[in-house]
């Protein structure tokens, strides 16, 4: 057994788990955070993607014990109260989900992609970067549209934030 302790969606959590417990099972079964899904047993589908120390990783391919000491963000941790995260909002607006099974992983991977491309994204880059996320409803077209829209929205609000802080400095 291992004592694991980590910060999940801003909350410090700990527990004693079997060493073989996967991070995804710790999140779902011990913490009740069932937004993170398991879609395969070959580490290929990406339904289980969460952020560990800021990076989008497959929580089905990591032990909870390996993650001990880390900061984890799951799909439940993205929204700001009742306000959806811009990527969640863009998925809704662009009809980027059908059954919704792949959606949590898609969104967590997309947030990571947008973070790594502060200068914006094009369609080819989004498609290539989403290689590790499979949608069994095959709704890729609208998913890609949503990521592009979210990237624009997030860059715009960042630019606004910057010019606002510049204006403040100037004042």
């Amino acid at each position: 057994m291992s004592e694991v302790s980590l910060v999940v969606n801003g909350r410090r959590v700990s527990g004693v788990v079997e060493d073989r417990t996967l991070l995804v099972h710790f999140l779902r079964e011990h913490l009740g955070l069932t937004g993170t899904h398991v879609g395969c047993d070959t580490s290929q589908c990406g339904a289980c993607v969460v952020h560990v120390d800021g990076k989008a990783v497959k929580s089905c391919t990591m032990l909870a014990a390996q993650a001990s000491g880390s900061t984890v963000v799951t799909i439940e941790g993205l929204a700001d109260g009742a306000d959806l995260h811009p990527v969640q909002a863009a998925f809704r607006e662009n009809h980027a989900l059908q059954c919704g099974f792949c959606t949590p992983g898609m969104i967590m991977a997309s947030v990571d992609i947008i973070n790594r491309h502060p200068d914006g994204l094009d369609e080819a880059t989004v498609r290539e970067e989403l290689e590790g996320n499979i949608c069994r409803c095959t709704g890729y077209h609208n998913i890609v549209k949503a990521v592009l829209a979210a990237s624009k929205a997030m860059n715009k609000s960042k630019a606004k934030g910057k010019s606002a802080s510049r204006a403040k400095q100037a004042a």
Partner: protein
């Protein structure tokens, strides 16, 4: 997954001690070992996590000499600015491994210790004439890779780093399996002061190998046209559900041509 005991090693010496427990295995990125444990293809009694050992991490570039710590992730290799300046080919190769989530966790040490016949790094190490550094000795790449999932490593031996001299010209071209992203065939070509080296992954039925035919043709002229009419024998190529031996033999030539063109255009 069967029950297992997890240990987090704090140093190479600590890991060397911990590995003596039962039927223990090292755990690096876990991108190969954990899927294998989930399907019960691997069932170690203990896992020794190498991920928190500072001395195994990072990329050093000094002149043309490159040293990559064993626990350095594929993502770090793909995005390291110093490395991209002296040897863009290996950074590009790392960026072709699996998907981003795999690259964030998977490591160069884990990849070469595993020596999957379709993995990318073995081709790079063979073509770059790299040296594998362990906690016990230094092993030239050519002696390190020993066939399908076989290496020169002893059970309790830890890969600590990979080191090589960046050649003036190098490039990697890969024909990925569209589902798994592993190489159906990948060819790494280098041209340095000691000549031309061409290493092939994904195709051989005994793992990574150097193509003597292609090396001989390119030694005369380092140009894709020099490979027109060269025959790559299919006798020792792999046949599986993805491609036949003949198909792979042809792919080796096609990928080699693309790699030479890229190497000439690049550095």
């Amino acid at each position: 997954m069967y029950s297992v005991n997890y240990h987090r090693a704090s140093s190479v010496a600590d890991a060397a001690k911990l590995i003596k427990k039962g039927d223990a295995k090292f755990l690096s990125g876990g991108m190969t070992l954990i899927p294998a444990m989930k399907t019960r293809l691997a069932a170690p009694s203990d896992l020794v996590d190498l991920n928190h050992i500072a001395e195994l991490k990072g990329i050093k570039v000094s002149g043309k000499t490159v040293t990559i710590g064993a626990a350095t992730t594929h993502y770090e290799v793909a995005t390291d600015e110093k490395l991209k300046k002296v040897c863009p080919a290996i950074a590009e190769l790392a960026g072709l491994i699996g998907d981003v989530a795999v690259r964030y966790r998977g490591t160069i040490g884990g990849s070469i210790a595993n020596n999957d016949p379709a993995a990318d790094y073995p081709a790079a190490l063979m073509a770059l004439d790299a040296t594998v550094v362990t906690n016990k000795r230094q092993i030239p790449a050519e002696k390190f890779f020993k066939g399908l999932f076989e290496t020169a490593l002893k059970d309790d031996e830890i890969v600590t780093a990979v080191t090589f001299t960046a050649p003036p010209k190098a490039a990697y071209q890969k024909f990925p399996n569209p589902a798994s992203r592993y190489a159906i065939t990948g060819v790494f070509v280098t041209k340095g002061k000691d000549g031309v080296r061409v290493a092939v992954t994904g195709a051989g039925d005994n793992g990574v190998f150097r193509s003597k035919e292609i090396e001989a043709a390119l030694a005369k002229k380092f140009d894709a046209a020099a490979l027109d009419g060269v025959k790559v024998p299919s006798a020792n190529m792999m046949t599986d559900m993805h491609a036949s031996a003949d198909y792979r033999a042809n792919l080796v030539l096609v990928m080699a041509k693309r790699a030479v063109t890229a190497a000439n255009a690049g550095a």
